[in-house]
């Protein structure tokens, strides 16, 4: 596996250098430059939203900083949580005086570091709350949802909580909306080929030439099954079937769907998947609101795709539609 990079250790910092050069709405901040914030800074009087996570998932997590979305993002090395210091800085830089929601994916490292950062901030008077993305249904039984990993569906929580904060809601409300968004979202992914961590000697896993793995995580964590490659429609049927079987209690008939490339899978194939997914949702009596198709949360060059469903009620549907603007996603 080949990567367009210089020294592997510089992968993240050189990536961030390029990112902010191209997108002046983003600024690097923090002692080691591992926080991305809006160039305008935290808006006084707005609830702040700080996220964070490992690198290698662009546009996630870093790319979603902007009006109607995140205020700051702490950036870890590839597939590693951000350091406690970066988490701390991301929270501080998101603070506009009305508290900060820590909104990130449910991974051990990220959680420990954001927790430690919270402990350290207690005496600074910044009030914080936490909501963890846990949309990946392949990463745990429905009975232990809070142990599931966060994957692409996290962008719904970004969008919905971001809209709530932008509209002037207080920390309690923004936190409630984020938690509701997470509770309303389910994802599942499949992989066709691995990716490689820049510093590693080998790809994160191997998959036979004719094989597909259902339920694989965005760091190459093992999935539900591995088998011979199947037609796209059959794969989509299984994915949508699993997602609907895990539908949140009380879910209504409105749903937003995200068909996401994990990296190497081209747009063409995402549209082929979407076609079948849309038909299945219609058959299930669901109506699709704001379908999203593209690379929203990747694993570098991994080939594969994920599908996320976010079940919407009136409140969430309204928040989803409000304007938002970051370099990789513009709504309205």
């Amino acid at each position: 596996m080949k990567k367009l990079m210089n020294k592997a250790e510089d992968y993240v910092d050189e990536m961030l250098d390029g990112l902010i050069l191209v997108h002046p709405s983003l600024v690097r901040d923090g002692e080691s430059g591992r926080v991305i914030r809006r160039s305008a800074g935290a808006r006084q009087g707005k609830v702040g939203i700080a996220s964070g996570g490992g690198s290698g998932h662009l546009p996630l997590f870093t790319g979603y900083v902007g009006p109607g979305l995140l205020d700051t993002c702490a950036i870890g090395n590839v597939f590693e949580g951000p350091t406690v210091n970066s988490c701390l800085e991301a929270i501080r830089l998101a603070d506009g005086g009305r508290g900060v929601l820590r909104l990130y994916g449910n991974y051990g490292g990220d959680r420990m570091n954001f927790d430690m950062a919270g402990d350290l901030l207690e005496d600074e008077g910044i009030v914080t709350t936490t909501v963890l993305g846990n949309d990946d249904i392949a990463s745990g039984d429905a009975s232990e949802r809070d142990k599931r990993r966060g994957v692409a569906g996290l962008i719904y929580a970004y969008k919905l909580a971001g809209a709530s904060a932008e509209a002037g809601a207080d920390l309690e409300t923004v936190t409630r909306v984020a938690a509701k968004a997470v509770a309303a979202t389910r994802s599942i992914g499949l992989a066709l080929s691995p990716c490689q961590v820049p510093t590693a000697a080998h790809p994160t896993f191997t998959l036979g030439e004719g094989e597909v793995e259902m339920g694989m995580g965005i760091h190459g964590e093992r999935g539900l099954w591995r088998d011979g490659m199947k037609p796209a429609d059959a794969l989509v049927e299984e994915m949508i079937g699993r997602l609907l079987a895990d539908r949140p209690e009380g879910a209504g008939e409105r749903v937003s769907i995200l068909v996401n490339s994990l990296g190497a899978t081209p747009l063409e194939e995402l549209f082929i998947l979407y076609r079948r997914a849309a038909a299945l949702l219609a058959e299930a009596g669901l109506s699709v609101v704001m379908p999203l198709v593209g690379p929203f949360a990747t694993s570098m060059e991994m080939a594969g795709a994920s599908i996320s469903l976010c079940f919407l009620d009136d409140e969430l549907a309204g928040l989803l539609a409000t304007p938002a603007d970051c370099p990789f996603w513009k709504v309205g």
Binding site: E80, G81, G108
Partner: protein
């Protein structure tokens, strides 16, 4: 006999010298069911610890805290963060002291183990680095020379690998594949043992 900052620095230096094959073995162990980065991450942590200048430090608490901060600055991974937590905990406990007798290290490691369990939410028996640490803390409790501590730690660590190999994992990324984890070493526990093998090799007895 007691551990001093020089012993700490020497142990880190030895770990650094031996990191090459350890890095590859740990990546491979983590790649089985996790995300394959344990080795690269540990190498970065050890590298950063080794680059920390302890030559002016005599206070064991200060030195351990510096090493904890080095680990915390190097990574935000689960294991790296737990390592930082462990060092920080022991550092706090020995603050202000230049020597920490070998006989105290069993209880100190037990404190670290408990702080790490509190931070990460794992329980003993989940087949994580904690179980290795627990075995080591237990085993070295009664020893009061460096050589005896090293020998007890190493054999307890290795035994914990064997004891847990055929048990299912209940924490971390491999948790979901409890059945598949049977027969495989936990990468965090393996890291503890390989690093002890590298850093606890014989050295000239401390002053």
């Amino acid at each position: 006999m007691a551990a001093r900052v020089e012993n700490l620095a020497a142990a880190v230096a030895r770990a650094l010298a031996g990191i090459g094959p350890i890095e590859r073995d740990l990546d491979a162990a983590d790649a089985q069911l996790g995300d394959g980065d344990t080795g690269g991450m540990i190498a970065r942590v050890i590298g950063r610890m080794a680059a920390t200048d302890l030559s002016e430090d005599r206070d064991m608490g200060v030195a351990l805290t510096k090493l904890a901060k080095a680990a915390a600055a190097a990574t935000g991974s689960s294991l790296g963060t737990l390592v930082a937590t462990g060092f920080l905990t022991v550092g706090k406990a020995v603050k202000g002291r230049e020597e920490v007798p070998w006989g105290e290290w069993g209880p100190l490691l037990a404190t670290a183990r408990d702080a790490m369990a509190a931070r990460g939410g794992a329980a003993l028996g989940d087949k994580t680095v904690l179980d290795g640490l627990d075995a080591v803390a237990e085993a070295i409790g009664a020893q009061d020379t460096r050589e005896a501590v090293a020998a007890a730690a190493l054999s307890a660590g290795r035994r914990s690998l064997v004891n847990f190999r055929d048990r299912p994992c209940r924490m971390g990324r491999a948790r979901l594949h409890a059945e598949r984890s049977v027969g495989r070493d936990d990468p965090g526990m393996l890291a503890l043992v390989l690093l002890m093998e590298a850093s606890l090799s014989p050295e000239a007895p401390a002053a």
